[in-house]
């Protein structure tokens, strides 16, 4: 019989068959007795006597029926359901501790389910693609380079070579970012397009939810251009209107037909639209700026064959790369090797470390919750010791009693599980919203799914054993019959005493665990403060950044750019509230173009390099950089595109130690290869400005070179505006200023520098502080509840002793000292244990801690001191109650 049909069978039998079953059993017994009496009659007994003897021999019919019933597995379930029902009744009777327990369990189960959900759905299984666990990105490595990486992008013909000649991949797809301008109703927007190779949809195993995928003809130049929409764009721009299929959308002045909409979880590259790219796209011989608009370099992702190791794949690809190098030696480093990385590993980054620590934190929280509930159950078990003794005397076996008590715990855990899942379902949204942006792939669907529910239920079952078993075993310890005989109120003192000791040990553990959590939270808080105290070298307040996107093949010359910007910057500066405005290439604090440099007259072994930015004169004031020596760039430098440079202090210190950099020249080697840029150009250093921590507060300021923006037409340009009013208020005027000059130029993603910093630099440590802080506060709260209830219970046990002491003349202060001393011993034990454990935790946390020592004495002392202070105050209320005991009443009670 299959399990399902057995279960159906069970319920059917339960519903209709129980009576029939009992009847059958009954008639079987009846038959037995009749046969027996027939035998007795045959032996010569009178019928009455025979029946009497047979019945007597048979014994209690009910017991036999019960015994026969016990043999059936359904009975076990019936008992279990009975116990569960009884359990819920018991829970209902002890409302206060039940609510406390359910809250504790809900917090423990809920928080671990949240973290599990994020870990499982966001980090381990974010992709809905086919064979997502074997999706692998390809990288070209250079063994000689410091970080080993050469490039992760390839020409399409290279990917074709890898695709056709490899033996270790099922297939390889190529894709690239392709930002396009989209115009509708006179408004210009920049859309994030992705160029995808013809096999992409099949390899990733995803098809459009409406419309069709790309057909072979779509890759030809002769056919009308087409486009696939991403679900988010379809949602935001077309409000999920299915009639968009067949409509036209104009991208970069090319009208394209919408052929399909991709499903929600197809978010390849997070792009808005997908553009077909043929495999045979030619590699341009000489790069022009126009060529650079269409993607030339593609990322490569393949599905590695089952059973092929990363090493085998890497060796396989390296052979192909070596043959490619023979044709294009300039594109490859001397010592080449191909590397592979699982896509899931590639997207995770450093969130994994934080999440692993968080898992540890929620497990600790769960442990605190469990020991908290165990303490409450223990108190209940002592109160119920008479009931348990009575059941034992009436014939319940110890195993049966433990089963019953565990079932009651299970009832508690189930309630906790339901509440925990509700908490998780709500909480997971908030936690995901608080996650530092960009750490979870677009594709991830982080919500409570069946895996999370299975997890929550298994955690609940596990916790049942954890918090239920020891109180249950404790409850059935000792001579149960004698316990019943002793007439004392709540059971014998010895049992309650050992229960109290056990509870104290549990509370000490809770305090130790919450100290671990508090130290974790304290260390992340200290790191966060250390991070925010770092001077970035600029004033990020009231600074607005925005990117400009020029129409394809326009503004390609220096003069066009100069005319555009001199007019734009004049207009922008005139906007009320704007104090400074400038153009630049890269946003500060988001990295910068990096180039090798040459300084004539210096001799050096290693490669010298610097960050370079191409800026207009007002850049330094817009950002708040100070002039230290020489002069800043001037409008004259811009207008005549003079080869002058301003360098940062780090640049001067590194490359001109102890000497004056002014008057020296520097060459940016990158210009020798970039399109339309000055070849072999040397820039005279005219000024030194203060440093800027471009790579974030954790990294020292890199050497930096600033050049007039008119020396090359190359590169996308951005705007930086310093305002005296909230920067969001000038965005509209900024748009109008751009449109007034040329409405084909788009102002893209305006953002406040401060927000940008918050997202990219401070969001991750803030998330750590928030999550660890939350875990720690909940843990501490539970531990405080634990110590409070154990002290209250202890005081109630001590009432008699306190009465005697007071009757013998002990002052109230002595009583207070006695009770507080008892609490302090528990707290002290917990603190010592917790601090010892914290050193282990701190060691594990070293990579997450920044700016302070992982064994930061201040954190440890502050945590210990506050736990002791809070713990002792929690003991104070029960202790005060002990001093208010009236000796007369306490003694009469006996």
């Amino acid at each position: 019989m299959s399990i399902a049909s057995r279960i159906r069978h069970f319920f059917r039998r339960r519903r209709e068959g129980r009576a029939a079953d009992a009847h059958q059993l009954d008639s079987e017994m009846q038959f037995h007795i009749e046969q027996q009496s027939a035998d007795y009659i045959a032996q010569g007994h009178s019928p009455d006597e025979a029946r009497r003897r047979a019945a007597a021999q048979f014994g209690s019919q009910a017991a036999v029926i019960e015994g026969s019933r016990d043999a059936r597995w359904e009975t076990r379930i019936e008992q279990f359901v009975q116990d569960l029902r009884f359990g819920f009744r018991v829970l209902g009777k002890t409302k206060r501790s039940t609510i406390l327990s359910i809250c504790a369990l809900a917090l423990g189960i809920g928080s671990s389910t949240i973290i599990f959900t994020i870990m499982y759905n966001g980090v381990l299984h974010p992709f809905a693609y086919r064979s997502a666990d074997r999706l692998t990105t390809l990288h070209l490595l250079d063994s000689a380079a410091p970080n080993g990486e050469k490039r992760s992008v390839f020409y399409l013909d290279e990917i074709v070579a890898f695709r056709e000649r490899n033996h270790s991949f099922e297939d390889i797809v190529g894709y690239a970012n392709w930002f396009v301008l989209y115009s509708h109703d006179g408004v210009w927007e920049s859309l994030h397009g992705a160029a995808i190779t013809p096999n992409t949809l099949d390899v990733l195993g995803m098809q459009p939810i409406i419309g069709r995928g790309f057909a072979p003809d779509d890759y030809k130049h002769s056919t009308p251009p087409v486009v696939l929409l991403n679900w988010r764009l379809w949602h935001s721009l077309y409000h999920e209107d299915p009639s968009v299929i067949g409509k036209q959308i104009t991208l970069d002045d090319v009208p394209r037909t919408i052929v399909g909409v991709m499903p929600k979880r197809f978010q390849h590259l997070g792009a808005d639209i997908y553009l077909p790219t043929a495999w045979d796209q030619a590699r341009p011989a000489n790069l022009t700026q126009a060529d650079m608009r269409q993607p030339q370099y593609f990322w490569a992702t393949g599905i590695i064959k089952k059973g092929v190791t990363a090493k085998q794949a890497s060796e396989d690809l390296t052979l192909i790369a070596q043959s490619l190098k023979a044709a294009h030696p300039d594109d490859f480093p001397k010592d080449i090797r191909m590397g592979t990385q699982l896509l899931t590993d590639a997207v995770v980054g450093n969130l994994k470390d934080t999440l692993v620590l968080l898992i540890v934190a929620v497990v600790l929280l769960l442990l605190i919750a469990c020991s908290n509930v165990a303490g409450l159950l223990l108190a209940q078990a002592s109160a119920r010791s008479r009931e348990i003794a009575l059941r034992a005397t009436l014939g319940a076996s110890r195993a049966r009693l433990v089963r019953q008590l565990l079932t009651e715990s299970l009832a508690l855990a189930l309630a906790g599980c339901i509440a925990g899942c509700a908490l998780a379902a709500i909480g997971v949204k908030y936690v995901v919203a608080a996650l530092p942006p960009g750490r979870i792939p677009w594709e991830a669907d982080v919500s409570l799914n069946r895996y999370a529910l299975v997890f929550a239920v298994s955690v609940s079952l596990l916790t049942t054993l954890f918090f239920g078993l020891s109180p249950a075993l404790h409850a059935i310890r000792g001579d149960l019959a004698r316990r019943l005989a002793s007439s004392g109120g709540t059971g014998n003192a010895a049992n309650s005493g050992s229960g109290a000791r056990f509870r104290s040990a549990l509370v000490a553990c809770q305090i130790a665990l919450s100290i671990l959590l508090l130290v974790t939270a304290g260390l992340s808080l200290r790191s966060f403060f250390a991070l925010t105290r770092v001077d970035l070298g600029i004033d990020p307040h009231n600074v607005l950044l925005a990117d400009l996107q020029f129409p394809a093949q326009q503004y390609g010359t220096t003069e066009q750019k100069r005319q555009f910007f001199s007019e734009l910057l004049t207009r922008v500066s005139a906007i009320p509230g704007v104090t400074h405005a400038a153009t630049l290439i890269e946003s500060p604090l988001q990295g910068a173009p990096f180039t090798a440099i040459t300084i004539p007259g210096s001799v050096h072994g290693e490669e010298w390099n610097a960050n370079a930015d191409i800026v207009s004169a007002d850049y330094f004031d817009s950002l708040g950089l100070h002039l230290l020596k020489g002069r800043l760039l001037t409008p004259v430098d811009e207008d005549s595109a003079r080869f002058v440079a301003v360098v940062s202090r780090a640049f001067a210190d590194r490359y001109f130690p102890g000497a004056d950099p002014l008057g020296h020249t520097v060459k940016l080697n990158a210009f020798d290869t970039l399109p339309d840029s000055p070849r072999n150009a040397y820039f005279e250093i005219v000024g030194v400005v203060s440093d800027l921590r471009t790579n974030g507060p954790k990294q020292a300021s890199p050497p930096q070179v600033y050049l007039p923006y008119t020396v090359t037409p190359f590169g996308d340009r951005s705007l930086i505006v310093r305002t005296s009013i909230p920067p969001a208020n000038v965005v509209n005027s900024l748009r109008l200023a751009v449109a007034a000059i040329d409405h084909n130029v788009a102002l893209v993603s305006p953002r406040a520098l401060e927000d940008n910093l918050n997202e990219n630099v401070y969001a991750a440590p803030r998330f750590s502080v928030l999550s660890f802080g939350l875990c720690a506060s909940v843990g501490l709260l539970l531990a405080i509840v634990g110590i409070f209830s154990v002290m209250a219970y202890t005081v109630s046990l001590l009432t008699h002793e306190v009465g005697i002491r007071m009757a013998l003349g002990a002052p109230r202060a002595a009583i207070l000292r006695m009770v507080l001393g008892y609490g302090a011993r528990i707290i002290g034990a917990g603190v010592v244990l917790g601090l010892a454990g914290s050193f282990v935790v701190a060691r594990a946390m070293r990579t997450e801690v920044w700016g302070v020592s992982a064994f930061d004495p201040l954190t440890f002392v502050a945590v210990a001191a506050s736990v002791i202070a809070i713990g002792v105050s929690a003991c104070y209320i029960p202790a005060r109650r002990a001093t208010e005991v009236d000796p007369n009443i306490a003694l009469r009670h006996e």
Binding site: Q24, L25, S27, E28, M29, F31, H32, E34, Q35, Q36, D39, Q57, F58, G59, S60, A63, V64, I65, G67, S68, R69, D70, A71, R72, W73
Partner: protein, 116 residues
């Protein structure tokens, strides 16, 4: 079962053997509960007295495990009774139990004979 003149300590060991005895008796052909108890007591020359309190739970346990099959049919006296018969797995189980028992009783006998 409460075997006459057997000390209570050995009841545990004998507990498992009741199943075997029942299976053995049922192996001869379909038989009802009362007859099983009679047969066991007859064959063991009244050494084993199977009480109803252990017989019926054991029968239901064996039925639950799928070693016995039961059906209601008429006895020769025209009275309806529940008849048990051995299933195929029950027969296998009986063979295993008998061979285990023989091994054990040989081993016990050997020890009793040789260890002084």
């Amino acid at each position: 079962m409460t075997p006459a003149n057997v000390s209570p300590q050995s009841a545990d060991i004998l507990k498992g053997t009741l199943d075997m005895l029942i299976l053995k008796v049922v192996a001869f052909g379909p038989i009802h509960g009362y007859a099983i108890s009679q047969r066991i007591s007859q064959i063991s020359r009244e050494f084993f007295q199977v009480t109803q309190g252990s017989l019926y739970p054991a029968l239901h346990r064996l039925e639950e495990r799928g070693w016995l099959d039961a059906e209601w049919r008429d006895t020769p006296t025209g009275r309806e009774a529940k008849f048990y018969k051995l299933t195929r797995t029950g027969r296998k189980q009986l063979e295993v139990a008998v061979s285990d028992w023989e091994k054990m009783s040989d081993a016990v006998a050997l020890i009793l004979r040789t260890a002084h």
